[in-house]
Amino acid sequence: MSLEKLKPWFPWLTLAVLVLLVGAVNPAFFNPSGMVALVADIVPLFIMALGMTFAIYIGGIDLSMQQVANLVTVVATVYLAQFGIFVAVLCIAAGFGIGALSGWITTRQFVPSFVATLAMGFIALSGARFLSGERALSMDAEARDASFGWMFGNTAGVPHELVIAGVLLAIAWFLQTRTTFGRALKAVGAGELAAVASGLKVDKIKIMAFALSGTFAAIAGLMFSVKLSGGDANLANGFLILAIVAVLVGGTPLTGGVGGVINTLVGTLIVVVIRSAMVYLEVDATMQQMIFGIILIVAIAMTIDRSKMRIVK
């Protein structure tokens, strides 16, 4: 019984154990400013994972997020001069649109989201390559600071990135737990047929979930673009798999209806701790990927709640 109650806390426990382990070997890890910087740096990844949570929460997946972010870095860089801060609207609209289209293909055309979003990602990539003229573009520093400088300051020692992440997390959490939309997402994830038989607009809800994941991908891409002060069709590469891993390690299984955005917060932190542990523990460069994989298996084995899974596929 007590084990049952502990289960939701397994991801937190895993995180705590990892942090303590790394800190025990190298106390420099506990340096507060280092830690804040560490966490502030993963904000784009976290936002991406947050969006991925919505897709996975309904039992799907969104493989287009990385390419959407790539496209957005280009859009933001190209149109910053023209639109100033309103380029954000353009970026978010692009993310929302691509996500919604993926959702429409998945729900109305019965193409599994794995393939639909992968293919939509290709289309976004083409767009990014075309728009960028296939080169790395950089933002005009002044225009960047004028429009988006607020993203990267510090207030009372708290990086603004963290504030943004916190606000987005709060919005996502509110959406998930307090709104009819969030409740409908859960119903679709846990029992789609029952949701249909209860008269929910299931198709619309699923399309919205993918649109949201696209939107978050766009926000992540925009932040990343501003942070790096430029854009190109490959800039956001490397985000996708990590975002998926972060969601899964956090305890939101691919079957849907379980977990949520708070889990994703933990999952992202676990991934980041593992990754920076490689640097702190001076793991040999050629060994890093292998060790990352092994720790991942251990972490997943520890965090997933098997009681909610009838069949493990």
């Binding site: 190298n26 420099a28 890890f29 340096n31 400013s33 280092g34 830690m35 910087a37 560490l38 740096d41 993963i42 784009p44 990844l45 870095t73 190209v78 001069a81 023209q82 390559r129 075309f130 728009l131 960028s132 003229g133 296939e134 080169r135 790395a136 573009l137 950089s138 005009d140 520093a141 002044e142 225009a143 600071d145 990343f224 673009s225 942070k227 790096l228 002060s229 430029g230 854009g231 190109d232 069709a233 490959n234 800039l235 956001a236 590469n237 490397g238 985000f239 990590l242 980041v272 990754r275 920076s276 640097v279 702190y280 001076e282 040999d284 460069a285 050629t286 890093q288 990927q289």
Partner: protein, 370 residues
């Protein structure tokens, strides 16, 4: 119809580019830099951690870079394990995160050599290093508006290679071998990479003097042997015997091209490549590749680390050096069949022992911006 579509898209693309250039030019004038100066420059560090951050270990080029870094560390009397490796696996995000992590770990007591994977990533990396009071030297990727002298001492130097000239030279060798007529195809690197763009430009420059040679097609092969293999196969279908020469953006691409030709039983096709990897040099000596350009990654890898390290321990003060010592081109050596074996013996089979204090000796002049 396909021609029409192609032309249309090509035009659109050119328009788009023109627009970009125009806007970049217009704004470039107004750009004011240096707002982010050094915040906590330390006079010097003692016994800093030396780190190299690069793309991956699966490419011989980066292995050469790393071997240089290790040779430098050994020259300081340390074991080569003392060099910390940060591998970004092609992810700018990881590249930056790793840098932040090691800055936090060392508390800024760091001499960093880095290729930031993508040009836009250079600015946040340099800013983070400067803020932590550590020292960084960059290689290859940075945006044109980012300069070491805007960061005091902490951004020590940037080394790059001007590939356009050497690529044009190899292209001339290729075009001459083709007898100044026929058709050439180009297999490029990752489309947005600077060297990929320059190497293609080199070919285009050379072609101006060879009106009878047509550039049949140029496709990115992402520095990847397998991708190059497939692209070359498709080229063979499309152009068949029209192809009388192949211009490759680097050696790994050339390997894929060679195998695609081999599968078809085609021998003696003139090919040129770039980078001067040992295998490619061997192939040059066998005349399977007509020329490659050796950029001496071993020296590049070593000297980039050396610059960061010596600036960090105060052996020299970067801000007192002229600009051409802070942004400079790396050396290039053309390798052709006649001298390939000799070159291989001198540079590859037994790696020369370099003087890691001779920072600018083999370099190739200051970086110029167009």
């Amino acid at each position: 119809m396909s021609e029409f579509i192609k032309d249309f898209i090509e035009k659109e693309k050119i328009n788009r580019r023109n627009f970009l250039f125009a806007s970049a030019y217009g704004l470039g004038g107004a750009a004011a830099l240096g707002a982010l100066g050094p915040t906590m420059a330390r006079a010097a560090l003692t016994d800093p951690t030396i780190a190299w951050s690069y793309r991956n270990r699966t490419n011989p080029y980066w292995n050469e870079i790393v071997s240089g870094g290790e040779a430098f560390v050994q020259s300081l009397g340390m074991s080569k394990d003392a060099l910390t490796h940060l591998i970004n696996e092609g992810s700018s995000e990881k590249s930056l995160a790793d840098v932040k992590a090691i800055l936090a770990k060392t508390g800024g007591n760091l001499a960093l050599a880095i290729d930031t994977n993508d040009a836009p990533n250079a600015r946040p990396v340099v800013e983070a290093v400067a803020e932590a009071g550590a020292y960084v030297s960059t290689l290859w990727n940075k945006t044109d508006d980012l300069h070491p002298w805007d960061f005091g001492d902490n951004y020590v130097s940037h080394m790059s290679w001007s590939d356009e000239g050497p690529a044009e030279q190899t292209a001339r060798i290729l075009l001459d071998a083709m007898g100044g007529k026929g058709g050439v195809v180009h297999l490029g690197g990752i489309a947005s990479n600077n060297p990929a763009i320059e190497r293609l430009n080199g070919l285009k420059n050379a072609l101006k003097d060879y009106p009878d040679v047509a550039l049949l097609a140029a496709e990115p092969a992402d520095w990847d042997t397998q991708k190059a293999n497939q692209v070359m196969s498709a080229f063979l279908t499309r152009y068949g015997d029209e192809i009388t020469g192949v211009h490759c953006a680097n050696d790994t691409i050339a390997y894929g091209v060679l195998e695609a030709l081999r599968a078809e039983g085609i021998e003696g096709m003139p090919i040129v490549s770039y980078d001067g990897n040992p295998q490619a040099v061997q192939l040059v000596s066998e005349r399977k590749i007509l020329a490659t350009v050796f950029t001496n990654p071993h020296w590049g890898g070593g000297i980039t680390a050396a610059l960061a390290y010596h600036a960090a321990i105060g052996s020299f003060k970067p801000s007192e050096e002229p600009n051409e010592h802070r942004e400079f081109y790396g050396p290039t050596i053309m390798v052709q069949p006649e001298d390939a074996l000799e070159f291989k013996a001198n540079y590859l089979d037994s790696v020369p022992t370099y003087d890691w204090n001779d920072f600018w000796g083999p370099s190739n002049g200051p970086i110029t911006y167009k």
